[in-house]
């Protein structure tokens, strides 16, 4: 409520200041615009509110109402508000994660926006992730890389380097374990973190296309190739590569292990950088490297989850909503909201500039020039909801009891046969 008021006041105030300077493109917008956001953490929230205020400034005739909902609660509430009391714009995630709403006809087809030259060329890299049934259903506003964040000082102390291949990754890990530490920290209480490991191991073992075939239900979980991926994973598990009792921890609770030097690295999205820096790991102690290749000759592919804006099909101010989506997709706005002072992530728009941050630069470099295989969204966004939730449980079980693998795969295969019918 407070944010709504604040945003409206900001919009009104700015409207008063800029009154007279009519909208640049001639046809001024008017009416209401109701925006629902899931960016409830302090920094993203401020970023979004500032961006909405700028939109209000450019469109003084529009009366904007913003509602910010807790990020986790949003995931269940969206079903209710899309059907009952739809806003004009809502945040969500790309790929299969939006499929239930697209299939139910709750998201507006915005393919027309993607005809626009600006969007068509500059957002081309994520068009695939926004496409279902040949149409586009929203626009992306940010994404971030995944990869291995490691303790540079510990690696130096142990005399190991960023691994260039799977054998080096394993031999590094052996050295780390020999020094009484775990190679990787992870907290699997909420399951999805294990999905990141599976994504990378599977994409590196068999490639992006195979991974997507599995996500789309075209490959059996009991397939020997899937077993090969788990066999690779098991090598790390058996050598004691992961912290113990990870099933008890959330990802945040798993961070102290790397901060205290009890673990040497973590496979995580770029959002881990901010808390790690806050905990005292400066750039001399924290570094990043791409997940090394496993099977030779397989094109590297990355996870880079994309967050998006959509127009619910029940929206009442679709013209204003379209204008807002265009605004969000513009190069300037994307540079601004993704810079280090705001989201600290990567802009999707190719003409945007990237903030000068070590990890953002490395991530951008990796995604734009060293990810020829493709860009995946993330396990729980690429796999259909039901498959993802069952599978992530299986992944957690595998990490604790690797011997249960055959049983887990048979169970997942049963789920696959039902989910993709």
């Amino acid at each position: 409520m407070r944010s709504m008021l604040k945003a409206s006041i900001a919009a009104l105030g700015l409207a008063a200041v800029t009154a007279g300077s009519a909208s640049a493109d001639g046809h001024a917008l008017s009416g209401d615009l109701k925006i629902f956001l899931d960016t409830s953490n302090p920094a993203p929230r401020a970023t979004m509110e500032a961006m909405i205020a700028r939109f209000g400034e450019a469109n003084p005739g529009v009366n904007i109402e913003t509602t910010v909902i807790d990020r986790e609660a949003y995931k269940t509430q969206i079903r209710n508000f899309l059907t009952a009391d739809a806003p004009d714009v809502a945040t969500w995630y790309a790929a299969n994660r939006m499929r239930p709403f697209v299939d139910a006809g709750l998201f507006e087809d915005v393919s027309d926006l993607w005809e626009d030259a600006d969007i068509k060329e500059n957002l081309a890299s994520t068009k695939g992730a926004m496409t279902i049934d040949g149409k586009q259903w929203g626009v992306p506003y940010t994404y971030y890389q995944w990869g291995i964040y490691y303790r540079k000082d510990l690696y130096e102390e142990l005399g190991i380097n960023e691994p260039a291949n799977w054998d080096e990754m394993k031999s590094n890990c052996e050295k780390v374990v020999a020094s009484g530490r775990a190679c990787y920290t992870i907290g699997t209480k909420f399951l999805w973190t294990a999905g990141g490991w599976f994504d990378y191991l599977n994409m590196r073992t068999h490639g992006f296309d195979f991974h997507m075939d599995l996500a789309n239900g075209n490959v059996a979980w009991t397939d020997d190739r899937v077993k090969q991926t788990f066999a690779n994973w098991r090598e790390l598990i058996d050598m004691g590569g992961f912290v113990e009792n990870h099933q008890n921890y959330s990802w945040q609770e798993s961070l102290p292990f790397i901060v205290n030097g009890e673990a040497a690295a973590i496979l995580k999205g770029n959002f881990a950088v901010a808390p790690l820096r806050e905990a005292g790991l400066d750039d001399s102690k924290l570094d990043f490297h791409q997940f090394p290749p496993i099977t030779e000759g397989i094109a590297l592919a990355e996870d880079a989850p994309t967050d998006t804006f959509h127009i619910p099909s029940g929206a009442s101010n679709k013209d204003n909503a379209r204008a807002f989506l265009k605004f969000v997709a513009s190069a300037n706005e994307q540079s601004e909201i993704n810079n280090g002072k705001n989201l600290g992530q990567l802009p999707v728009n190719a003409s945007s500039s990237i903030d000068d941050d070590k990890f953002l630069n490395e991530g951008f470099e990796m995604l734009s020039s060293n990810s020829p295989g493709g860009v995946a969204q993330f396990f729980d966004r690429d796999f259909p909801a039901e498959m993802a939730s069952e599978a992530m449980q299986g992944l957690q079980e595998f990490m604790v009891f690797p011997d249960n693998l055959d049983d887990i795969l048979v169970r997942l295969e049963k789920v696959r046969e039902r989910v993709y019918k």
Binding site: K75, N248, Q393, Q396
Partner: protein, 306 residues
């Protein structure tokens, strides 16, 4: 209006006046009946109806007959949740004897006994979420109080909530803490009503210790025991918040109970199976029905007896 004035004066009494005795109770009950019907009775039938459909909560529902139930019969996660519910029902009842013994222990006149009583009652006042958090810290594998304590005895690396066979018992133990306090309060009030003359008479006949407790005190506490039994059974079947806080159903779904599994399947982040969730709810409802029937029957018997 005109009529009402006439009633008071006239000989022709209104319909309401003539039927006042029969109608008034129903009028008073009407709001409760209305809300009970709208929020409890009708939803029960709706749930049963939904359980015959395959529905993601958004699009069209398709009729699948008993398919959801057939799938349940073959679903290992459901089986685990089902047996966990039974573990809860059985072990949660430990709160009753535990509450009784604390009540007996505290039922004495010592300086400051009110403070001790309120300290023992304290856990029941805490929110279940707080209890869950406190116990999950208590159980932490390395930093936790319990594992430090066990380390003194040379038992290392106990991770109760991370161990699929122990986790449910760990959560039940956490739940027993406030539930014991609740039962204790029920028994403390019950003990106030124990007839001192009977105790005196029993004492003259040479009863003491266990015999006194078993044959004289406990029979007199029967009403308290009944209420304690009811609230504990209901508490066991509603065990949701502790599980959600302490393990989130994990490790790999081994601590789920039916209500949690239903929530996961139908309403959680990845839950899009309303029909399947409703089928689980129906099974849970049938289990509850056994207890509800028993409670109603024993209350009816009680009333008839008087």
């Amino acid at each position: 209006m005109a009529e009402t004035t006439e009633i008071n004066s006239g000989r022709q009494r209104s319909w309401y006046k003539r039927n006042e005795i029969a109608v008034t109770p129903w009028l008073f009950l009407a709001p409760a009946i209305l809300f009970f019907a709208v929020y409890v009775i009708i939803p029960i039938f709706q749930s049963i109806n939904i359980s015959f459909y395959d529905w993601d909560g958004l699009g069209e529902a398709t009729w699948v007959g008993l398919d959801n139930y057939v799938e349940l019969a073959d679903d290992r996660a459901f089986e685990i949740s089902f047996w966990n519910n039974f573990k809860w029902l059985i072990f949660y009842l430990l709160a009753i004897p535990a509450g009784l013994f604390i009540a007996l222990f505290l039922n004495q006149t010592v300086t400051g006994i009110r403070i001790y009583k309120s300290l023992f009652f304290f856990p029941f006042v805490l929110s279940q979420v707080v209890v869950g958090l406190v116990f999950s810290w208590f159980y932490l594998p390395n930093e936790g109080l319990l594992s430090n304590f066990l380390a003194w005895f040379g038992v290392d690396g106990v991770n109760i909530l991370g161990d699929p066979t122990l986790a449910t018992y760990g959560i039940i133990a956490a739940g027993l803490w406030p539930q014991t306090a609740y039962c204790m309060i029920l028994y403390l009030t019950g003990l106030n009503a124990v007839d001192p003359e009977q105790v005196e008479a029993a004492r003259l006949d040479g009863a003491k210790g266990w015999k006194m407790l078993w044959y004289v005190i406990i029979p007199q506490l029967k009403p308290a025991t009944f209420i304690a039994f009811v609230v504990t059974i209901i508490g066991a079947l509603r065990s949701f918040d502790l599980i959600s806080i302490m393990t989130n159903g994990g490790p790999f779904g081994q601590t789920r109970v039916l209500s949690f599994y239903m929530f996961e399947k139908a309403l959680s982040e990845f839950g899009f199976r309303m029909g399947y969730g409703a089928a689980i709810a129906v099974v849970l409802f049938l289990i509850m029905l056994v207890f509800i029937a028993y409670f109603l029957w024993s209350m009816w018997k009680e009333e008839k007896g008087h």
